[in-house]
């Protein structure tokens, strides 16, 4: 059978961000996938050498448009570790709440994109309808819809008062009901299952060996979630990783669906336990030292490496984003699949290319 090369991306209806794959196909079967990336490299890591370390949180947040808050939070955590800054507990709780809202909106975005990718427009609209309610809460509490801008070195910029907490909790009940409505379709609908079940299977051992993170890893049965390391308020709010054992596209979708409800619960617990007090401490001086910080993004574990030499600019700033860790797994499962299943496999690792290339 003759081989044909079919280009996939960087402009493709299912790709929100540009990645290019050369798919070598034999008939309708993919035999090899050759990736090329580098379309949106912006040089953000280099920028750390010229920007004030306090102002750099704005840049860190813009590494990714969807998990922006957790990028800002991880950066602040890293600086706070180097400088030994005691962050007020209330700020830690607020960071946790916003981090979880960010996870909910990211997962809903992904669910919508996946419904859109399989041609289920109606479900796509419903996912984004619910996401809109989450975005409204985020906008009211932080000022931004996807770029929160509410985290700073030493704490947070804004507080959430008791009345607002009450309204948010009421809205959360409604959001939870909506989530039950749409996740039921994602998990049980016949056409969704036909597109996802048994597609792109990644075994537990493969997922572990290839260094996968986040829902891609958990969908293959490895219970790993950086939140159980206890950063921010997670030392008081235990998180149990959501896992599935199938390792296929459906499992990765189911993990994200379940995580939505877990995040809602984490927000409820955080609001129930949130202590009173200051929301930020004053930061003086410049950082000296080196650190590695790991947190859990909606797409998986992110690793920050920071090196500072006592000046107001960092000496080295390096990020390992979750999508970067998941790309090898994607390339592993593509050979052997049908050409029509490629969009689903690519989507289920939730690729965030602007993160990956920074």
């Amino acid at each position: 059978m003759a081989r044909t090369v079919i280009p996939f991306g960087p402009q493709h209806p299912v790709l929100p961000e540009p990645i290019h794959l050369d798919l070598v196909v034999e008939d309708e079967k993919v035999v090899q996938a050759l990736p090329s990336i580098g379309f949106i490299h912006r040089g953000l890591e280099k920028l750390a050498e010229t920007k004030d370390y306090i102002d750099f949180v704005y840049v860190a947040e813009r590494i990714c448009g969807i998990c922006s808050f957790i990028h800002g939070q991880t950066y602040c955590q890293a600086i706070e570790t180097i400088m030994n800054i005691p962050v007020p507990p209330r700020a830690l709780y607020l960071r946790t709440v916003w981090g979880e809202f960010s996870r909910i909106h990211s997962h809903l975005l992904w669910l919508g994109l996946m419904a859109d990718g399989m041609g289920f427009e109606n479900l796509f609209m419903h996912s984004w309808r619910v996401r809109e309610k989450v975005l409204n809460i985020i906008e009211a509490t932080t000022g931004g819809r996807v770029i929160f801008g509410s985290c700073k070195v030493g704490g947070v910029r804004r507080d959430i008062n008791a009345d607002t907490i009450k309204t948010i909790l009421k809205d959360l009940d409604e959001i939870e009901k909506d989530l039950q409505g749409i996740t039921k379709v994602f998990l049980n609908d016949r056409s969704v299952k036909a597109r996802l079940c048994g597609i792109g299977v990644l075994s537990k051992q493969e997922a572990w060996d290839l260094g996968c993170v986040g829902p891609t890893l958990r969908g293959s049965g490895v219970a790993q979630d950086m939140r159980d390391q206890g950063y921010a308020a997670f030392k008081d709010i235990p998180v149990e990783p959501v896992t599935r054992t199938e390792g296929d596209c459906y499992a990765r979708c189911a993990v994200r669906c379940e995580e939505l409800f877990r995040s809602v619960n984490i927000i409820r617990q955080a609001f129930a336990k949130i202590p009173e007090g200051e929301i930020a401490v004053k930061v003086t001086g410049n950082p000296t030292g080196e650190t590695i910080t790991r947190t859990e993004q909606p797409r998986g574990e992110v690793v920050y490496h920071l090196k500072a030499n006592g000046t107001k600019n960092l000496q080295r700033f390096r990020v390992r984003t979750p999508t970067f860790a998941n790309l090898p797994a994607m390339l592993k499962v593509l050979p052997g699949c049908d050409l029509a299943d490629v969009p689903m496999i690519v989507l289920t690792i939730d690729p965030c290319i602007s993160c990956t290339e920074r």
């Binding site: 704005y58 906008e139 000022g143 016949r190």
Partner: protein
């Protein structure tokens, strides 16, 4: 099993008022607390240049000698940092977004 999952949801929403608004006939009301845009109040400003020095994107230029405060709205990322640190409170972050900036035109005050 699983044949009519979507139909229930679709039917419910077919009979409900749409959650969307008829923009632009019905303008979107700004959400309280949102970061819309920076508004400059000339009267209080002492042209100390603190805002220009701290702006993370370099959207502000302040000329002390000529008493000029200039903003490039296309560069501004609405972070609100300048409003937070202005010692004279002459900058405020308001909720309405205003019309989007599409050119590099600077606004002189």
């Amino acid at each position: 099993m699983g044949y009519f999952e979507m139909s229930k949801l679709a039917l419910k929403w077919a009979l409900t008022k749409p959650p969307t608004t008829r923009y632009p006939f019905e303008p979107r009301q700004p959400i309280a607390g949102s970061r819309g845009q920076i508004v400059f109040t000339k009267d209080n400003c002492v042209y100390c240049t603190v805002c220009a020095k701290k702006c993370p994107t370099g959207a502000l230029v302040v000329n002390r000698a000529e008493k000029k405060w200039v903003i490039d709205r296309l560069r501004c990322i609405n972070c609100g940092y300048c409003a937070e640190i202005c010692p004279k409170k002459s900058l405020t972050m308001v909720e309405g977004h205003g019309s989007p900036a599409v050119t590099r035109d600077r606004e002189f005050h």
